[in-house]
Symmetry: D2
Subunit: 357 residues, 4 copies
């Protein structure tokens, strides 16, 4: 039995707590792993991924709100069912003991993660950043400090946020030096997910996209944070890239993110796409997406932890471009259309199965 | 130079006239072939398809409205630009001479198509059904009579409608007997096109689609015809299949088609999709599609004519399952997700290029 | 102190139970009477309406599901908060004793209602039909039997459904004979509420509405019932009338009701309105309404009970056309635009205040 | 016969040219005055308003694009029908002679307007500002200079834009001094029009609006101008006021204006309204408005010119608060709900009819 640690940076946030509660619930047979891509027949059977049963949670957070209290708050906002939180409360208390206060010291990060690995006799640990988006800054940003700490401790690193993380030259250098894999950035859970299937549709049909305008209304913790113009700008740039990459040109229009506390965790995105067809006929597509970010992100965090741990165990190092499927702003020269990303992922994992066989 | 005939059943209808006007305009350099899939770099260069310049139009219709008059009506409803119709009016007059009255006699169909081929010294002719959807009936339906006529005359057949067409056993028998290819059914131009990219997104992300309800409001000729409950039922069944095929289960909800004359040629489809994610969280996606059916269908008619003619010229016979990309209700055991259909098409045509090289 | 009985036909249904729970919660100070029109300053102060504290509930139902069980089901579907149901459970048990089995006997209805009035020493009772929509039928329909029973017992009657109710000649005769007031039909809680403010906007601006098409997707008890074509037809006719009455002409398009169980109590209505302005320019408005029918209906049931009881106490008899504000298909020659209905209601109640002063 | 001048500031813009073309077309019997409120039976018959036949156009503009050229551009963008522009081209040429270059000199404005009045022997002139929204500035803004010029020349003034116009103290002083009426500001043609009927609906039903977020996508001249942050801020503030005024509180959320050239004159507004009902149940309404601003504004410009001229002829001076119906940001202490504004307007005009009788 291979035991894998999942160290969450931002461990007391909505995504982290939903990830823990969901894993515990699935393990206890209280919920199906809906939304987990690695539970689809094709991927589940193809490669030796860590089992849900063998994931062990720890993490950093600058907040000190108890996990159970946060879980109850997520019941109140409709993200988690009360009965499930009740059923896993004891295990959340046990995870509580594995959390450490947030820090800006790379050494402390490394020490905390290494200590966790030893205490729980883990084969390896994946550090996953699910903290709030940070504004762009001049020095070494917090996300990159966590990445450096992870690599220093011999751990892989996944960045689920648009922050700089492992893309900082110093972090990349450490990853190469220690021969460790990393993945990112910015989990693709809503509007961009739709863009990555709709833009290829227009491209495959040779239709001309004239404008693509998006508005995102969100409450909850991430919304408040994105009200900061710096963080907003980083996020929006990450959201724009996909169209240019898929279509080969940039349509008019832009993306807005607005903070509306009342919306809570159920984000609303509205997009208007104008396009022209044969002989210039003007047409349009509008969509409204009401998605719960935490519920969409949590199963992907589990997927990324399992896949990155498996890559690490196979000695793969450097940027995991094959995980582009999961990200708004994937590292490397990779496809941006979801179906192409899916094929890349499946081929990669199938290759492992063949090697193993 | 290989000259290819395109014989349109329903030659005076909106789709047929838009196809003719668009081809003439592109040929004259007055319009770009937007919406033509065979003009995308990958496909255009991969195989020896008939050039736009080498397509010759003819067809049947029960109506006798002159083509130019119909083209002007399409200007009025915003489908065709006035200047372009003006520019190609002379050539429309010339096509007028190649049209024959609709008939229920298989022999007459065969004679008309064969006569067209001889008169214009065409290498081959593709018969494409773009007439109105016919209600289901007990005898040999009109669409199948046209298919039988096409095969009898040694021509390939494409059915762009949900009508029975070449799927009738008698028609299939003739296609086999004469060694001819055929394709269908029901051009995928709107709501179903979106289903074929959105349903795979939910499937790839392991999200559970709970309900998918669609409403289609359409005016124009096809709308009036679909107000007939029989034709409506045929069309709706064709629209439902895609979800079951892609998801592996059938969500709740159904599809409605309503005739609203004022909507004209700009069809509006509204779909509501409810789905659940991790731990059962309820989410939803809504979209509204305002598409001009004729402008979306016409370039695909050109694509199908070129690809079917090329297949015919290579001696390929039977159902062209590789053309599933174009159809709501494709013949044969084929993928229903658009990206898979796209790959099937590209691989097929690339194979030709390799053979030729 | 004047004690008023509220006798609910369909007392174990969603609307009735939400009405009871909400009244009990407001009375206990656990919830504000949001959605209660009679709690707006203008109306609340203008006339001597029965206080929430003085309403006593009873009713008929063919079902025998306990009220508390139904209330818990409404917690599950997100209509009622768990804490509030908990807090009023004892009082629901007490109301349980006042419910009687549904019956088709007018005499039994009258006896049940009269018995309730005597047992609780009520000054008067308002019978309110909140049962499922009944299909149109040839004989005296159930709703009219309840109306006749109410009148026979000397009670007023309100029909919150599109059923025939007090509009049957026999029921009207009894109302006149006993000098009793009645009101109806079909509570205006969603799509039609919007029609009654949007259609006047187009009219006041002299814009031409060309088509108005609506789709209603609903789960829950009423949805299942409306899947019956007969009931559906009655409901749809009631929904269409408002446009003709306000605009003075009937635009193209119609209204659909589809049953989608997964939607549950949160109904979704989508409407597309096409209109033209100056020089014929085509424009459009689309809206999507996600409303919880029970939560919208319950406070209006309280309003109607209070206002009808007050009218009864003032000796007013016959159809209460001044209550048109509350209904999709109001009885009598009345305005259909919501602002006009509002003015009619306010003027009526202000008149009472002046009389009393 | 009373001849009335309509002097348009921004006379070569979309709204002005649509106003001229539409008036000429209606006069010639080529189009019905759809969208003209003063053509509704109630208003048309109630008061002696200037007839369409007796309106004479002139105006200022900093641009020198010929009217006919601008009209053809509006044909291209779908605002005006080609046949109508053709039919009125000669008359547009005649109006051309009445246009003067834009100026910042109050004296020049007054001289130009007075000259126009004398040359055409007009009984009076209404100056209507339909130029682009100006950014807020420190000195006397251009719009106020035009207002001052109008008053100096003894003319009334209407501001259809959110610019300061007659609300500047110096302009107000002149209006009082010369005993002249004025009206404004910011024609209510789209999103705010809907707010002014939907917000009262929530208020009348005692439902709690929690958030109201709006996004406006617009191309065309006004869109380009609003990309300027200063002008955008002025416009947005004008759009927000209506909710606070009608609801008595300010919901969360804000309004965005984005410039998307491809959208052209057909503006798209998307609004999401979240609200709660009985027992706190969360509900939502979304709407999308696709409106052509010029086609909606032009008939209101005619209405305002007729009504202001009639007020002037009756010796009414100062702010015409009774015209609040037409404005996003009406001057004075006035109702903001459209039905109340409508009643105010109708009562005012009916009063004239009674006086005259």
């Amino acid at each position: 039995m291979v035991r894998t640690g999942v160290w969450l940076v931002g461990a007391r946030g909505s995504v982290a707590v939903t990830t823990m509660v969901g894993t515990l619930a699935a393990r206890a047979g209280l919920a199906e792993p809906v939304g987990c891509v690695t539970e689809l027949p094709g991927l589940r059977d193809a490669a030796a991924l860590p089992a849900l049963n063998d994931l062990v949670f720890g993490g950093h957070d600058t907040s000190s709100v108890p996990l159970v209290k946060k879980a109850h708050a997520l019941v109140g906002s409709g993200v988690l069912p009360a009965a499930i939180v009740e059923a896993v409360a004891d295990e959340l208390h046990r995870i509580e003991a594995c959390l450490r206060p947030g820090t800006t010291s790379i050494e402390q990060v490394a020490a905390d993660v290494a200590g966790f690995r030893e205490q729980h006799r883990l084969d390896r640990v994946v550090v996953v950043n699910v903290s709030s988006t940070e504004p762009s800054s001049d020095g070494l940003p917090a996300s990159s400090r966590y990445a450096c700490g992870a690599f220093t401790a011999g751990c892989s690193y996944v960045d689920f946020t648009p922050s700089l993380g492992a893309r900082h030259p110093e972090a990349m250098r450490l990853a190469v030096h220690h021969g460790l894999p990393y993945a990112g950035n910015d989990g693709k859970t809503g509007e961009t997910l739709l863009k990555s299937v709709l833009a290829p549709m227009f491209a495959m049909r040779n239709l001309r996209v004239r404008s693509w305008s998006g508005t995102n209304l969100l409450g909850g913790g991430d919304g408040a944070n994105l009200a900061d113009p710096g963080a907003n700008a980083v996020k929006v740039a990450s959201k724009q890239r996909v169209l240019r990459e898929i279509l080969g040109y940039e349509p008019e229009g832009g993306t807005r993110i607005d903070y509306v506390p009342d919306i809570g965790d159920l984000k609303t995105a509205w997009d208007l796409i104008t396009f022209s067809g044969f002989l210039g006929t003007r047409m349009r597509l509008e969509f409204t997406w009401h998605g719960c970010d935490s519920a969409l992100a949590a199963p992907l965090v589990i997927d990324l932890a399992r896949l990155t741990a498996a890559a690490h165990s196979r000695g793969i190092s450097g940027p995991l471009t094959q995980l582009a499927f999961f990200f708004k702003d994937p590292i490397g020269v990779v496809p941006h259309a979801l179906p192409d990303q899916w094929r890349l992922l499946c081929d990669w994992v199938s290759g492992w199965a063949r090697e193993t066989a």
